[in-house]
Symmetry: C2
Subunit: 399 residues, 2 copies
Amino acid sequence: MKSIKIKSTINFQKLFSMWILAFVLVLSIQAQRPAAPRVPRIVSPEISADNKVTFRLFSKEATSVILTGDWMAAGVSQPLVKNDTGLWTTTTAPLKPEFYNYYFTVNGVRAIDPSNPKILRDGSRYSSALFIPGTESDGYAIKDVPHGTVAKVWYNSTSLKLYRRMYVYTPAGYEDTSNKYPVLYLLHGGGGDEDQWTTLARATYIMDNLIAGGKAKPMIVVMTNGNANQTSAVTDWPDVTDKNISGSGGGMTEEFPNSIVKDVIPYVEKHYRVLANKENRAIAGLSMGALQTQITSVNNPGMFDYTGVFSIGIQTEFGDLTTRLTKAYDENLDKIKKSGYKVFFVGVGKDDFVYEGVQLLRKKLDEHSFKYIYRETSGGHTWANWRIYLSEFAPMLFK
Amino acid sequence: MKSIKIKSTINFQKLFSMWILAFVLVLSIQAQRPAAPRVPRIVSPEISADNKVTFRLFSKEATSVILTGDWMAAGVSQPLVKNDTGLWTTTTAPLKPEFYNYYFTVNGVRAIDPSNPKILRDGSRYSSALFIPGTESDGYAIKDVPHGTVAKVWYNSTSLKLYRRMYVYTPAGYEDTSNKYPVLYLLHGGGGDEDQWTTLARATYIMDNLIAGGKAKPMIVVMTNGNANQTSAVTDWPDVTDKNISGSGGGMTEEFPNSIVKDVIPYVEKHYRVLANKENRAIAGLSMGALQTQITSVNNPGMFDYTGVFSIGIQTEFGDLTTRLTKAYDENLDKIKKSGYKVFFVGVGKDDFVYEGVQLLRKKLDEHSFKYIYRETSGGHTWANWRIYLSEFAPMLFK
């Protein structure tokens, strides 16, 4: 914008900037939103060249500010130190490139970092997001590549008797062709909902990057809500709770797996341009979603050429559900072999609490000479691992 | 689920529940997410039968907790009071049914309510959401009615030289017909982005309710990002900032209005089933978006039969931009009359700081004997008013 003089002494550009500032300020106030406490402009988090991260928070009144981040061991946290202006600061040791989350505890209250606009929800709890760029995190960085469309879609689940929501990712270019696409059904874990893969796992950015790099085929990715008694993520629950709504849960039965086959797949294959055959149908899930994946895939021979089981196996703790799953494996693995399949992927972290169950799953597959790909990573039941498994599984699909 | 006995003394249902609980807990811990401070289960906010609202927060360590809500006058806030267990509480006077937001200030730090999973973002600041049901807020309640699909769509803006994001709402039923639909282009205000109409204004739920009730025609609603130098909301900015990204702003020029005509409308009319004529094209915006709406509509006679100008007019403070807008009015109003149009809607609150500018706009329209609908509400530059204007404007469209 050019600076022009008006009424001889007024710099218009300056006036204009001031007006904009006033405008935004007044907007805030007039929108019945009292101004937040006046704090200096703070940068937090700040990543140094050697990947140390500095966190800052301003408060003269606070007497205790603690940082808790998911790079720390369970139960560990790190205090911030206050200087005489009221600025609280702490710096970490160098962190591995990764997508982390963290929060402050301010005089006993959990708080997101007010200086960081990127946040994450896990169930009903919010944290602030921290992305450390580097080779290890490059695959799920938000980049300047073509992005797919992410749609929040409502569908009727006749089998669950619920009007429900799911996310449908259509790859970049979907709208510009009349091509039909293969579909990956991607199931979240316990305590989560249909948001989880897109936020904590960055699934859509992983897919954007893999597809842009020619590493994965363009595909539709359907991310459902696996809580069989829930319409949607809590963020979109009706304001006035009615009978068609409930808390999370209801994911540890066959109900949701059945509804994938009866409601979700038919909806997707009717409403999107889909290659509707087993060669172009994949299913994968993490933790609770990996249990649902097994139930869905193994009970429906000839439906999926690709199955991804991330971080759960045949867990003895599930009692009757496990008995039925084991029976399904025994009855159907030969049928699946007969109908043909391409990839059965099993991934688990060395330190994962479900590790033994995953070994029981491997034993079961071996018993039936059922070929599968086994991927053992370091670490435990973590988003870091689920991002890795998706990043490795998706390139195997539909080839 | 039936309760069955296993190993004679174990109640399976109880075991199962415990396992689920352990599962979720272990998930939290193993996901390298240290547990939050152990706090009792708290209900906050709680709305009483007479619409008083009680807010609660637990902290033994805090010494000052203050509530700030957008129902309060600017600068006003309300302290919470601590009891001897560490529970902080305060109750408001009865509140009018409305969609509010609020936050706590805990020892000087702004914090969302940890007990409330519904939050709102305005720019880079987060608040907790509070919906008080009642006649006045019924139009934008989240209800058990058919919901449209809300898609986050990326498009190339040739004129702005940016790959950018917008939201596209397709009404319930869009996917089930081959019908073509009219389109409303809906523009956000200063400091906001493409999220704003869907979150703070609840535009998609307003449309769901109006359409389900037969009050508005099914239509596509396109919600753009009006900051001409921004790719998307900050939440989806690239992790590693590059040249194609910038802060908000760049909305107070003709650049974005030009890109609506050159890039947005062509994209939408190519990729969606659209009735692509002026009879089926509407544009509306709030505040900065209302300025952009005027610029777009008045500079393009014969493009829109419906124009909605919410809470801005001909503001003398905008200097040269206002001069050009005024000139456009003088040159084009007769052309618009000649080409034909249906509704030119102007809405403003009695206490709005842009009130005088809106009266100048009315004067200009009157000068040219240009028919318009004027709606004056109580209050100021508020989301409450913008929800009202959208709720009244949408039913006038495409009839």
